[in-house]
Structures are given as structure tokens and as C-alpha cells.
């Protein structure tokens, strides 16, 4: 097996680290006094164990950079398989790999190309793994396109911190891109601002009101949403729509196109249909390269102390020249993950439980999809299991003020998030 041969550090050849050793052999003017010139390499090359979450656009770049800078023990998790539309940027994959696991193909490629590096893939979800698994790493780098997965790993690493055990603090380096824009940040769980602290910085997704889709379509997007949200379930019943199935996209396209024709709306195309139903975000190799390099550079600096690391946020916009902004994102005292204080939540006396739930879904700094609510003394509404959902359903129509006193606390949980949010209800 390749890992046995490659796993040995003897694969190093004289001169291999000529470039990197210039940095490791002596300090720079701004290097921290804690840096031990000439003695940092063994930790980096023999001991450091790093986890890469995502083997897609950012992940492929991250794996290559880490391997070249001298990390020898890399783990990578990704639940996806390779699609042809990945090949314009995910450079560890070839046409013959379409349909295979990203994590496995990427790991094999890196081990093949960079001798002596051991990459351990896991083809599955991050949620499959528990605290023991995450505890084994010194660093975690995320190259994900899912907000939910990032919230999960962020909360998991914050929860992992045990003040008695310094090893339990795992720096989390997070990168993200969209077209020509991207950001990289360093999160020291419990110490710096975390992913959840900055949730309100996310772009709000365009959501089309159902009444527009159903009654007054104006844009091609409205027709496509009509086809996927209203017509698909009406025609196909319980059959699940698979946005990766060309037959399904074709059906949606034809349905949307005929509605567009009926309303004299122009511009429904196959490509737009696919873009809308899959919520496709443009992605290119260059932006991913920039952001992944920024992330890996932070990992290298943290692992070697060769230079100060980013405090704590770097954002880049490349559409008009190159604009970047490096700043310290502040911790939120009422962050549900790292803050400790409960979040003040002013509502009117008239608001019903159902309306409160809608507000929680909508609010930019909360964004909880299927929240369950309770107070210290009673369950207000639970999404699951079915018996409890049924038992608490009558509360949906009740006013919150009938169930919670002013200044009272409401705990919000969701099965997708490994933390709970504590609201301090204030009536106005």
C-alpha cells in the first residue's frame, strides 16, 4: 500500500526544503521571540497532525499547499463525489475520476505526487465523527461551501475547549470563496471571534415570495421557482427532486419555459434553471488558490511560530482591481456558541409562537432552520419526535406572552446544530 512506503519520513532528499528552511533557519525582524530557529521543522514534519474539511475547490488547493510546506500527517473529510463541473478548478481530479469520492481521489493524488506525505481520507460527513476524533488534531482547516457544516465544526471545536487542557484548543482556519471574492480567517475557539459571531456578515440569499411565484411572475427565476417549488410536488407527489439528475432539470426547464411563454417572460434557459434550483455559486481556480494559500500560510505560521498569524480576518474582492481588507472581527458577547450571555430578543405582546419561529429563521444573525423552543419549565414547540411535535403543535397559535413572562428565557435548539441559543424575551 502506498501509505506504508510514503509514510516514512526518509523520503526526504537533501535540499528538499531549501526554500522553506530559509524561513525556519532564522527569525525575521517581526518574528515572535518564542520561535526556535532551526528547531521548528521536527514538529511540523514529524508530529503535527492537521485536518482538512472539504476536498473540493479549496480543499484540493489546501492539500497540495500543506503537503509542499512539510505537513506529513494530513486527514481529509468530504462526503461528495466528483462531478464534471468540478474539473475547471479541483485540480487533483481528472475526467476518469467523475463519480468517485473526492476525499479518496485527492488523498491518493497527493501521496502520489508529494513523497512521504500521509493523507488519510474519510468519505463521509463531519457529523459522523465525535470529540475523540477531533481531539487528535493540532489544527483544523475548513474549505467548505456549506454554512451549516461550518457552524457545526465551529461549535464542536468551541465545545471541545477544556481550560485545564491547553491541547484541547484547536485553531480553526476557515476559507470561503464566491466568484472573484473570498475570505480567510483564523479562529481560536473561545479566545477570538468564532464563525457564529460573524453570521450576520453572510450575504442574504435571494428568496422569492411564494405569492409572487404563484400569482405574479415577472422574472425567469420566478418561473423556475414555480416549477421546482410548486409544480414538482404537485405532479410528482412524494418523489424527491434530484438536482443532479439531468432528466429532472430537463423537466423543470420545460415546465418553467412553458409558464414563461404563457406570461410573455423571456430568459428561461437550461443553464439558468440549473443555476436557480441548485443555487449554483460561480467558482474559479484563481480565487480558490488565493484563499487556500492564505489559509495554509496561517497554518504554517501557527505550526512553526515563524511569523505572527492573522488576527483574525482577511477578505478579498477581485472584481475591480484587487481590494483586500485585513481586520480583527470582534467576539460577540451574546454569541450562542462562544459568548455565554443570552441574546436580548424584543418582540410585541401580540407575536405568536409561529411568528417567533419565522423571525428566528429569518434573522440574519440566527438563521436556524427548524428551531425547537422551550423554557426552563415547559416545552413550547418541538420539531421532533412526532409525538412531541403533535403535543406541542397547539402552542404555535398561542401568543408568546401567554407562555413566557417578560424577561423570561427561551432556549432554542435545532437538530442540525450542536448548540442551543438562549433568548431573553423582552416585550415592547
Amino acid at each position: 500500500m502506498a501509505t506504508l512506503v510514503n509514510g516514512s519520513a526518509t523520503a526526504d532528499w537533501p535540499g528538499r526544503y531549501f526554500h522553506i528552511d530559509q524561513i525556519l533557519d532564522k527569525p525575521g525582524p517581526r518574528t515572535d521571540p518564542g520561535f526556535a530557529a532551526g528547531a521548528e521543522a521536527p514538529f511540523l514534519r514529524d508530529q503535527a497532525k492537521i485536518l482538512v474539511i472539504g476536498a473540493g475547490g479549496l480543499g484540493c488547493e489546501i492539500l497540495a499547499n500543506l503537503a509542499l510546506t512539510g505537513f506529513k500527517h494530513i486527514h481529509v473529510i468530504d462526503m461528495d463525489t466528483i462531478d464534471i463541473s468540478n474539473l475547471n478548478r479541483q485540480f487533483l481530479f481528472r475526467s476518469k475520476d467523475v463519480g468517485k469520492s473526492k476525499a479518496i481521489v485527492a488523498a491518493d493524488f497527493i501521496m502520489q505526487r508529494v513523497p512521504g506525505v500521509e493523507v488519510t481520507p474519510y468519505f463521509g460527513k463531519i457529523q459522523d465523527k465525535g470529540d475523540d476524533y477531533y481531539m487528535q488534531f493540532n489544527l483544523v482547516i475548513c474549505g467548505l461551501d456549506s454554512v451549516e457544516a461550518r457552524r457545526w465544526i465551529n461549535a464542536t471545536l468551541v465545545n471541545l475547549v477544556d481550560p485545564e487542557n491547553p491541547e484541547s484548543l484547536k485553531p480553526l482556519i476557515d476559507g470561503g470563496t464566491e466568484g472573484f471574492k473570498g475570505q480567510a480567517r483564523v479562529i481560536l475557539p473561545t479566545i477570538t471571534s468564532c464563525y457564529e459571531c460573524s453570521l450576520d456578515m453572510l450575504n442574504k440569499q435571494t428568496a422569492f415570495p411564494i405569492c409572487t411565484i404563484a400569482n405574479t411572475p415577472r422574472l425567469p427565476e420566478h418561473c423556475i421557482e414555480w416549477a421546482s417549488v410548486l409544480e414538482w410536488p404537485r405532479v410528482h407527489g412524494d418523489k424527491k427532486m434530484d438536482t443532479d439528475d439531468p432528466e429532472h432539470i430537463s423537466w423543470l426547464y420545460k415546465t418553467a419555459a412553458s409558464r414563461a411563454k404563457e406570461f410573455n417572460i423571456e430568459g428561461v434557459t437550461w443553464s439558468l434553471t440549473q443555476g436557480v434550483v441548485k443555487n449554483i455559486i460561480p467558482a474559479i481556480a484563481s480565487t480558490n488558490a488565493i484563499i487556500a494559500a492564505a489559509c495554509c500560510n496561517e497554518a504554517f505560521k501557527i505550526a512553526t511560530s515563524s511569523a505572527a498569524y492573522l488576527n483574525n480576518y482577511f477578505m478579498l474582492i477581485g472584481t475591480d482591481g484587487i481590494y483586500s481588507y485585513t481586520f480583527e472581527h470582534e467576539k460577540r458577547a451574546d454569541c450562542p456558541v462562544c459568548g455565554g450571555e443570552s441574546l436580548d430578543f424584543p418582540i410585541s405582546m401580540e407575536v405568536t409562537v409561529e411568528e417567533l419561529i419565522d423571525m428566528l429563521i429569518e434573522k440574519q444573525d440566527i438563521q436556524i432552520k427548524k428551531p425547537s423552543l422551550s423554557t426552563p419549565t415547559r416545552q413550547i414547540y418541538l420539531q421532533a419526535p412526532p409525538q412531541l411535535e403533535q403535543a406541542t403543535r397547539p402552542n404555535l397559535e398561542k401568543k408568546v406572552s401567554e407562555l413566557v413572562p417578560g424577561g423570561g428565557e427561551v432556549t432554542v435548539t435545532a437538530s442540525t446544530l450542536p448548540f442551543s441559543l438562549s433568548l431573553n424575551i423582552i416585550y415592547n
Binding site: P246, F263, A289, F300, A308
Partner: protein, 528 residues
């Protein structure tokens, strides 16, 4: 446009948009959403020359081969060293040591995309420079990483002498620090992908829009229709009323503007009519005068317009036509046909959209009549030009070392951008020292002292200008790692440079003007 041509156009669009895309389109889907088929075609017909196959060079190329640049040539006479095999992903570790570096790199880069042609040229830069212009002019663009200063000066001069020569991207890096610069004569952009929306001309409604608004009796509408009149119509209607009561003038002062918004609000029948809320929010559009944006008006004095002839680039012929168009009433740019979404019934919206489309088509016809009859310009280019007229760009570049010769600019930069200047000076000083003889060598490592770098940098500045305070730390970093091509720095530069090259080739989005400097210790980029 005649009915017949429209039908052909609709038919072709239908053909290409109905069927599931072919495998090439599927491969490039995520980037086609950024630069479309036109950008992709430009990319695929480009031929790039890259001097050297260092880690930085191959990182740049990787990000151009993946999106499908047509052809690339790597010119490099080096043989792979153990150090190369350690920091370059496009070499196969120890297996590549001793082989020609260009050939190894081209072979491995080629595996990324079957649609791309790669050539390895094992000539030296010296041979290329001796061969002269003929050899260089077949390329679309030339990229040079860490070229010794003496060679860079000759290359830059060869490519600067001739206005039609390929642009040159000069890339330098050492350790955590880097910079790059694009030497170009002129770069014109139609599709700048500006986020500024073009005017809807609510303040100067065109006849059909005004007529339609006047014919609509808001009070006679049933409640549903009343809540679905597009805000454009509401604003035009409110402004007509306002002008009648204010000597034909739009609101001038803040209290007047507030009063106008109240007028709009008073036209509501119910408190929660969303179309009226939109009208209030967009009210500024009805008193902001639609004029030719100043950035576009500035282009009308471009020297290229003075000496226009049949061989001038189409862009300038179109710009001349635009200038002529704006010299006539209503003294605006041609109307855009794209209407943003707004609360409205389908019929009201589609009807309004048709008004805009028809007027835009009419004005495009007028615009076309101003285009010099001695040139033939395709309809698709004209369409795109008119659609993007509010955000056209012309970049007049400069030669690679122009900043180093500009005493005032350097003196200003000492106070305005000291950190960026420090990086530029330190890398320039390192490059000059490296091309001076004898080079002090200790083992394989080039030894550069902070003192030598300081002295050299000082000599690059005009007399009596002090180095920025930040210089010492920056020089210290260069002295620490004068020849380090770090994988992360290489990868980051690879992304930045490739992205600018894509903007140059596709003529979409806006490339940098000036020197882009990068500090990966503090993690920032900045333009000098």
C-alpha cells in the same frame, strides 16, 4: 432590428439553451457564469509565454490551464534541482531531478486540461531577448517571475517600444513578500461588470413612458391592480404632479424631497402597499438628474478619439458614436433595456419592460447611425457596448519601471503608502543586487544584508527622500529569505496573477492599475 432577424436570433438562442449542455459547457459551467461564452472564447484563443518554471510560475499557469487558456509556452533552460522538486507541485519529486524543468512542468500542467496546448522551450531568456521582437510578438501576454533586473529591463523595453506588443506581467517574490505589475499600453473594457445600475430615466421619462403613465388613471384601478403598479410608473406620475405645482422643477432642497416622498406616500390606498414602499425608497431616482456619468464623459477627451481612422480599434469608434449620441437631447447615454425586478403584476411589469425594450431599440438605432460608415462592427459588440455604456473603462498603463523613475510619485508614496513602498523597494533592491557581480554566495544561498539592501533602495529613491520607516523590517525579511519561493506565497501569487491575466484577456472586470504588493506575515495586499 427587423422582425426576421429577431426571429433568427430567438431561434438560435432556443437551440443553444433548450438542450442539456455538452460536456465542455458542463466542465466550464462555474466560470461561464462569470465571464460567459465571449470571455471563454477570448481565453481559448490566447497564447501565453511564461519565463521560468518556478513554483510561482507553475502556480500561475495552473490557474490559467484549468479554465482553458488556449496555448501556453514555458521558456526555461533550467534543469530540475532537489530544491525545485521540493517546492513545485508540477514536478514529480525526486523523479524529476536532473530533467529539463520546462518539459517536466509542461507535461504535468498539461494533464490538468486536455483542451489546452502546452509547449516547453528550453532556450534561455538571453536567447529569447537576442531573437528579438518577432519571437515575442506571437504571444498575447508575457509573464516573468523573478527575472534578474538587467534582463527584465531589456524585455520590458522591447515590449514597451511597440504599442501592439503583448502586455508584460512582472512578478517578484521572496519569502513572505511579493509584488507584481502589469505593463500595458492601453486596455479598454466594455463589460466591467459594474455594480452600479444604469439610469431608468425616471427624471426624464421618454415619450412612451410618459404617455403610458398619463393614460393610467390610478384612482380608477381596483385595489389589487393599485397595489401592483410598478414603482417606476408611480414615481413618474408623482413627479408630473409635483412639477405642475412647482414651476416644472424637481424637488431641490431636503424639505422638498421629504415633501415629495410624502406625496408618493399620500397616493397609497392602503398602508401596506409594497409598490408604494418601493417608490418611496427609490424616490431619489426621480430627482437625480440622468446625465452622462463623469467617468464616461472623461473618456470623450481620449486622445484616440482625435485621430480616429479605419484601423482604430472598434472600441474607439463606438466611443465616438457614444459621444455624438450624448451631444443630442436628452443628453444621456442610450437607454438600457434591462429593468430591475419590482413589485408589480405580471402584465404591468411585462408591459413596462416592453416600453423600455422598444425605446432602447430605438435609441440603439440612433446610436448606430453615429458609427463611422468606414468600420464594420458586429451587432453583438454594439449591443454589449450600449448595454454597458454607463460603466465603460479605458486604462492607460505605463512601462514596468515608470514608478521608479517618477520622483514625485515615490516621494508621495513614502507618506501615503509606506508599507507597500517598502515591499516594492526591498524587492527591487534585492533584484538589482542579485544582478550585480560579484554575487556573494554562501553555499547555495544568496546573502543579502539589510545594510546592502538599504543602500541599494536608497539609491532607487530621488535624492533627499528618506526610506519609509517600515523599510528596515521589510529588508530584514528579504535578508532572511532572499531566494525562498515558498509554496504558499507561490500559490497565493498564482491566484492573484492568473486572475488579473484572465481579466486582461477576456477584457471583462477591471484589472489592477499600479503595483500590487503582498505581505503574508501580516496577511494583506495593497496597491502602490
Amino acid at each position: 432590428m427587423s422582425q426576421e432577424t429577431q426571429d433568427i436570433e430567438t431561434a438560435t438562442t432556443a437551440m443553444t439553451s433548450e438542450a442539456p449542455p455538452d460536456s465542455r459547457t458542463r466542465r466550464y459551467d462555474r466560470q461561464l457564469r462569470l465571464w460567459a461564452a465571449t470571455g471563454q472564447a477570448a481565453l481559448e484563443s490566447a497564447h501565453l509565454l511564461v519565463l521560468s518554471s518556478t513554483a510561482t510560475s507553475t502556480s500561475i499557469l495552473k490557474n490559467l490551464v484549468l479554465p482553458g487558456v488556449g496555448t501556453f509556452t514555458v521558456l526555461d533552460d533550467a534543469i530540475v534541482t532537489p530544491a525545485d522538486a521540493g517546492n513545485n507541485f508540477f514536478l514529480e519529486g525526486p523523479d524529476s531531478i536532473g530533467k529539463p524543468r520546462a518539459q517536466e512542468a509542461v507535461r504535468l500542467l498539461g494533464e490538468l486540461n486536455e483542451g489546452v496546448q502546452g509547449h516547453a522551450d528550453v532556450k534561455s531568456v538571453e536567447q529569447l531577448l537576442t531573437a528579438g521582437k518577432g519571437e515575442l510578438f506571437k504571444y498575447t501576454l508575457v509573464i516573468a517571475h523573478n527575472l534578474p533586473r538587467s534582463q527584465l529591463e531589456r524585455l520590458s523595453q522591447l515590449l514597451w517600444e511597440d504599442e501592439d506588443a503583448p502586455s508584460l506581467v512582472v512578478v517578484r517574490s521572496a519569502g513572505f513578500l511579493a509584488e507584481f505589475f502589469i505593463q500595458q499600453h492601453e486596455h479598454t473594457i466594455i463589460e466591467s461588470h459594474s455594480e452600479t445600475a444604469p439610469s431608468l430615466r425616471i427624471d426624464k421619462p421618454f415619450p412612451a413612458l410618459l404617455q403610458y403613465t398619463q393614460s393610467l388613471d390610478l384612482d380608477a384601478l381596483d385595489p389589487t391592480d393599485h397595489g401592483h403598479v410598478p414603482y417606476v410608473i408611480l414615481l413618474v406620475s408623482a413627479m408630473e404632479r409635483w412639477k405642475k405645482e412647482h414651476n416644472g422643477l424637481v424637488p431641490q432642497s431636503y424639505p422638498e424631497k421629504k415633501a415629495f416622498k410624502e406625496l408618493v406616500s399620500s397616493m397609497k390606498r392602503k398602508l401596506d402597499e409594497e409598490n408604494f414602499e418601493e417608490a418611496e425608497a427609490q424616490a431619489y431616482r426621480s430627482w437625480t438628474e440622468t446625465k452622462v456619468p463623469s467617468e464616461v464623459a472623461e473618456l470623450f477627451s481620449d486622445p484616440k478619439l482625435q485621430n480616429l481612422n479605419a484601423s482604430s480599434p472598434p472600441f474607439f469608434h463606438l466611443l465616438a458614436a457614444l459621444k455624438a449620441f450624448t451631444a443630442h437631447p436628452p443628453y444621456t447615454l442610450p437607454l438600457t433595456s434591462t429593468l430591475p425586478d419590482m413589485k408589480a403584476s405580471t402584465d404591468a411589469y411585462i408591459g413596462l419592460q416592453k416600453l423600455y425594450k422598444d425605446q432602447a431599440e430605438l435609441e440603439k438605432g440612433t446610436f448606430k447611425s453615429y458609427i463611422s460608415p468606414e468600420v464594420q462592427i458586429g451587432d453583438d459588440i454594439i449591443d454589449s457596448f450600449v448595454k454597458n455604456a454607463h460603466a465603460l473603462k479605458v486604462i492607460r498603463g505605463s512601462s514596468w519601471n515608470s514608478i521608479d523613475k517618477d520622483a514625485t510619485a515615490l516621494a508621495n508614496a513614502v507618506t501615503a503608502s509606506p508599507k507597500q513602498l517598502a515591499i516594492h523597494l526591498a524587492l527591487s533592491a534585492a533584484s538589482s543586487l542579485a544582478s550585480k557581480t560579484p554575487i556573494p554566495l554562501q553555499g547555495e544561498i544568496l546573502v543579502l544584508t539589510i545594510e546592502a539592501l538599504t543602500q541599494e533602495a536608497q539609491s532607487l529613491l530621488p535624492p533627499e527622500t528618506e526610506l519609509p520607516e517600515e523599510f528596515e523590517d521589510t529588508a530584514g525579511e528579504i535578508a532572511r529569505s532572499p531566494t525562498a519561493d515558498l509554496p504558499n506565497t507561490a500559490a497565493l501569487l498564482g491566484g492573484l496573477v492568473a486572475q488579473e491575466v484572465i481579466k486582461m484577456i477576456t477584457k471583462q472586470y477591471i484589472p489592477i492599475s499600479g503595483v500590487c504588493t503582498v505581505d503574508l506575515i501580516e496577511t494583506w495586499t495593497g496597491i502602490l
